[in-house]
Structure formats: structure tokens, C-alpha cells
Amino acid sequence: MRAPTDGELVVRARAGSRDAAAELFSRHWPRAWRMARAVTGRRDMADDVAQDAFERAFAALSRFDERRPFEPWLHRIVVNRSLDLLRSERRLVGIEAVDRIEGEWRDAAAEDRALLQAVSGLSPQRRVVIVLRYGLGHTPAAIAELLGLPVGTIHSRLARGLEDLRGLEKEHDVERA
């Protein structure tokens, strides 16, 4: 039997089916959470961001056009909420350089920690694009649509993000040596 599409689940959830809504949640929660984690660099913040994004998305289901893909819409909410919370943290506690966040990746595999930490060290704009491209596998065109930016800007941010990561890796190697 064919699994229902996201659009069908949205229609059923809107009609009051909690099962359909739960199915939609289980399909998209892990990736949305991972994205929030990678953008914020923090597990506790990812919990709140992803939960809040789903609350907002579900509360706005009646306004969602089910002919459009659900995931990019959700991911856009996650990106915006992550950046909002990082900004608000800077404003509230006066963190000088929230652009370069200190990721908490102690629970990641040992060989990946340095790279994940380096991703956290990127500027938010580049970090978001890198996470969407390599963490979630979105194409540059899809990222451009999701973020409402020209494709050229996405390519440029990707290239600069990778360049930054190579630089940070080199710094890390020098420190280790």
C-alpha cells in the first residue's frame, strides 16, 4: 500500500486526525531537530527550537498550502527560530560574539567532533547553508527557495563556508601539532 504523502497527511491533520499529525511529526522531527542542533550547536536549544517550530507549524496548518512541500516550510521555521533565539541570547546576556557560537558536541563521535565544532564556528549565514546542504541534503536551488535568496548567493555562501572550514581545520591541526 502506498504511504500517504505529506500533503495528504496535512489535509487529514487539518480535518482533525491526530494520527495523521503524529505521522507527519515522526517523519520530520528527527531531521528538524538535527538541523536545529547543527545551527544552534546546543542540544537544549535544539529541543526548544524544534518543539517550537512544530507547534508553530501545526498551529498554522490551516494556512498551509498542501500542494507545496511540507519539509522546506518546516525547515524555514526552524532556521528562523534558531537564529532568533541566538540573537535574543546575545541581546539578553550581552554575548559579544554570538556569530561564533561555542558548539557542544561532546556527545558526537570522536572523529567528527572537531569538524562539528568548526561548523559551529562559522558565521550564522554560512552555517545555515552548510547544514542545509550537507546535513539535510537540500540542493542549492532548494536552499535558495527555502531562504528566499538568489541561487548565486547560496553557491557563494557554500564556497566561503567550505573555505572557512578548511581554514579552521588547518588551525586545529596546527594547535594539535
Binding site: R14, W29, D47, Q51, E55, S62, A109, V119, L165
Partner: protein
């Protein structure tokens, strides 16, 4: 062609640890709760249709009225030919009383709804709140609900942060420098006092046994007072983490309200039996004892030397002189359930319970020249059926 770095990124980000199952369950529950009911969805669609219809009718009617008024001629567009006359009705701006001055904010929890009133707008916050408070100047408001605390931008309602708690938080109070929030938590172990940073991180359990009395911050935001489960008042130093319990005095054993003065170190403590004690926590002045009306007390300071205490239907004013105190009182048209004074002391906000109604109103601070002087009402903020017994948390920052 993908580089080694790109492959490493795909692996590292793709295989990064996932969410905890407990978090997933909670998120699913809250997401399902946020789902609008089918009736809501139908209502939204109907409302949209009705709005569209109303807009069409309004355009049709206003067009018709305009044409009728201009004798079938289309109205001109551009500057008016006759100079506009100044408005003559109403009091001149300089004579109108300022109810809420720019930069000030009143916040209240009325029933289970939050209310923030500034010079420009009044905004209500979603229902089912167990606690509510606005930050100074109403940049943020903190909403307490079973299971979490949430800070929202007061102007837009956008969530700034959210913090999960194991229980129901109540009585959040923002420090004058909005870097911390003190609150009470009704958890499995009873009522606790907590202190959390203004960005929703670094939550500290200050004391494991508290009385249901809203904490009060000292002007410098370095300490706050709360009432312990046994009724004793404790001043908690948030910098050093030290607790100083005040010894009982003035016949006051179980405090029902505490309030720090807006400057200096004076702390007013009142109980339900009409005992009032003012302690200088800096130790520079001896403690004062006096009595006010009996009932659940609410305290509001006017500067550092004058305080108002509302209990029952009596509003008392205590003036602290260099030697001794002055006292006078006036009656209010209802039982006082909450009280706060404006920063300049000229206006007060009162929650008055009368019959089955709860009114929250702004009044000019009474002159106290005669008993039962009528309150000069400036504005009614709420008038609704009484929802639950107990104090109405009010603040005017």
C-alpha cells in the same frame, strides 16, 4: 565532484546524535496540542469569507455614501482647499492626566490572562497562564504555564526563549535590571523558589520550601526576598548565593507579602493580621513596626520613604520619617486584591473585588486627607467576573 571535506561533512552532520526519546515525546504532545480543531479551521475559513464579504459591502456602501454626499461628483484628491480648523473639543493635551507615562509598563495577571499596558497600547496574553510579569519598559513578558516558562517580546508576541520546568511555575518577577527572573515552582516536592537568568538559561533552585507569596527584587537586582514555607522572610543574595533569614519581630510570624523599596534597602513585610514591618536590609536604620488593616495584604512603595498597603477595603499610607512614622488610610469601593504604585507615586493600579466582579483600575493616588475619599478613577483596565481567590499580581515598572 564532492571533496573529502564535503563527504566528511555529510557523514558528521548526518550521523550526529539525535534527540532524546523523552524530548521527542514531549514535543509530539505539545505539537498535537497546538493543532487547531476542525471547528477552528472551519471557523477561520468562515471568518476569512466573512471578512472578504464585509470588505466588499463596506467598499460598496462607502462608495455609494460618498457619491450621495458629493451629489454624484467624485471627491477631489489632494490638499484641502480650506485650512483645517484646530480641534476644540476635549481637554488640552497638557491638562489631560497622564495615565501611563512613556517608558512605564503595568503588568497584571487577571484570572489566567496576562495584561501589559504601556503608554501606547494594552496587550493581553494567551490564556491558561499560571503566572505572568512584564520586564521593565515592557520589552519582554514572561508567561508561566504548567510545564514551562516562556519569554515573549511584549510588542510582537514572538517567543524569545522557553524553559521547561518539572511542575507549575507561578509568580514570576523580573529583576529591575532584567537579567534575572525569580519565580515559584509547584513541583512534586512542594513549593520551591527558583531564580533563572533573563535569557532562559541557568535556572537555580534557591530554596526547597516556599510559601505562596510573590518574591520581590531589591533595586540593584542583586538580591530578592521571598517567604519560606514556615512563614519566615529570607533575603537571597543572587551573586554570592547566601540566604539571610530575618528574625520574626513586630508580632509578625507568617508573612503574606514582601516588597523591596524602589531604592535603598528597605523591605516591607506584612501579614494577614495587620502587622507591618519595615526592615532596612543594609542595616543603616532600625526596623519599624506598625499595624494596618487586616486581610490579605498588597504593598506598593512610593519612593523609598512612603508605602501603601492595601488589605480588605482599606488602603493605608505609611510615611517613614527620620524619627517614627506617619499613618493615614482611606476606604476603597471593594476588597483590594492587588496594588502597585507608579514610579512617580502619583498614580496607583488596584485590583478591586466587589461582589462577583474583579476590576483592575488606574487611579490617582488618594490624598488621604479624609477617610473614604473617593478614588479618582483614571482608567479601567479590566472588569470581569472573579476567577479564583487570591491576589492579583500587579506591577508598575
Amino acid at each position: 565532484m564532492s571533496s573529502e571535506l564535503e563527504r566528511d561533512l555529510e557523514r558528521a552532520l548526518g550521523e550526529a546524535p539525535g534527540p532524546d526519546p523523552g524530548v521527542t515525546d514531549r514535543a509530539l504532545r505539545s505539537a498535537l496540542e497546538a493543532l487547531p480543531s476542525p471547528a477552528d479551521t472551519r471557523r477561520i475559513r468562515r471568518r476569512r469569507l466573512a471578512l472578504l464579504l464585509a470588505a466588499c459591502i463596506a467598499a460598496f456602501v462607502s462608495g455609494g455614501v460618498t457619491l450621495a454626499a458629493t451629489d454624484g461628483r467624485l471627491p477631489g484628491i489632494g490638499p484641502a482647499l480650506t485650512p483645517a480648523r484646530p480641534a476644540t473639543s476635549g481637554a488640552p493635551a497638557h491638562q489631560r492626566p497622564v495615565v501611563v507615562a512613556p517608558g512605564e509598563a503595568i503588568s497584571a495577571l487577571i484570572g489566567d490572562r496576562g495584561l501589559v499596558v504601556t503608554a501606547r497600547r494594552a496587550r493581553t496574553f494567551t490564556d491558561r497562564l499560571s503566572g505572568f510579569a512584564s520586564s521593565p519598559a515592557a520589552f519582554y513578558a514572561i508567561e508561566a504555564r504548567a510545564g514551562h516558562l516562556r519569554a515573549v517580546q511584549a510588542a510582537t508576541g514572538r517567543v524569545a526563549w522557553r524553559f521547561r520546568v518539572a511542575g507549575t511555575p507561578t509568580d514570576p518577577v523580573w529583576a529591575p535590571f532584567p537579567i534575572r527572573v525569580a519565580y515559584l515552582l509547584h513541583g512534586r516536592r512542594g513549593l520551591e523558589v527558583h531564580d533563572i537568568w533573563g535569557n532562559g538559561t541557568h535556572d537555580f533552585a534557591v530554596h526547597a520550601s516556599a510559601a505562596p507569596v510573590a518574591p520581590s527584587w531589591r533595586w540593584d537586582s542583586k538580591a530578592f526576598a521571598f517567604v519560606r514555607g514556615d512563614g519566615a522572610v529570607v533575603v537571597h543574595d543572587v551573586i554570592g548565593g547566601r540566604d539571610i533569614a530575618l528574625h520574626p519581630a513586630c508580632g509578625l510570624r507568617t508573612a503574606a507579602a514582601v516588597a523591596f523599596a524602589p531604592s535603598g534597602g528597605r523591605l516591607a513585610i506584612a501579614d494577614r493580621h495587620g502587622h507591618l514591618r519595615v526592615v532596612d536590609t543594609t542595616g543603616h536604620a532600625p526596623a519599624l513596626c506598625t499595624t494596618v488593616a487586616r486581610g490579605l495584604p498588597s504593598i506598593g512603595w512610593i519612593g523609598a520613604n512612603q508605602l501603601l498597603v492595601g488589605a480588605g477595603t482599606i488602603l493605608s499610607r505609611i510615611v517613614i520619617h527620620r524619627v517614627g512614622t506617619g499613618y493615614d488610610a482611606t476606604a476603597t469601593p471593594g476588597t483590594i486584591a492587588g496594588l502597585a504604585a507608579s514610579p512617580d507615586g502619583r498614580r496607583i493600579v488596584l485590583a478591586l473585588e466587589s461582589g462577583s466582579r474583579m476590576r483592575v483600575l488606574i487611579a490617582a493616588t488618594p490624598r488621604f486627607s479624609e477617610e473614604a475619599a473617593p478614588l479618582r478613577l483614571l482608567r479601567t483596565l479590566a472588569d470581569q467576573p472573579v476567577a479564583g481567590r487570591g491576589p492579583v499580581p500587579l506591577s508598575w515598572l
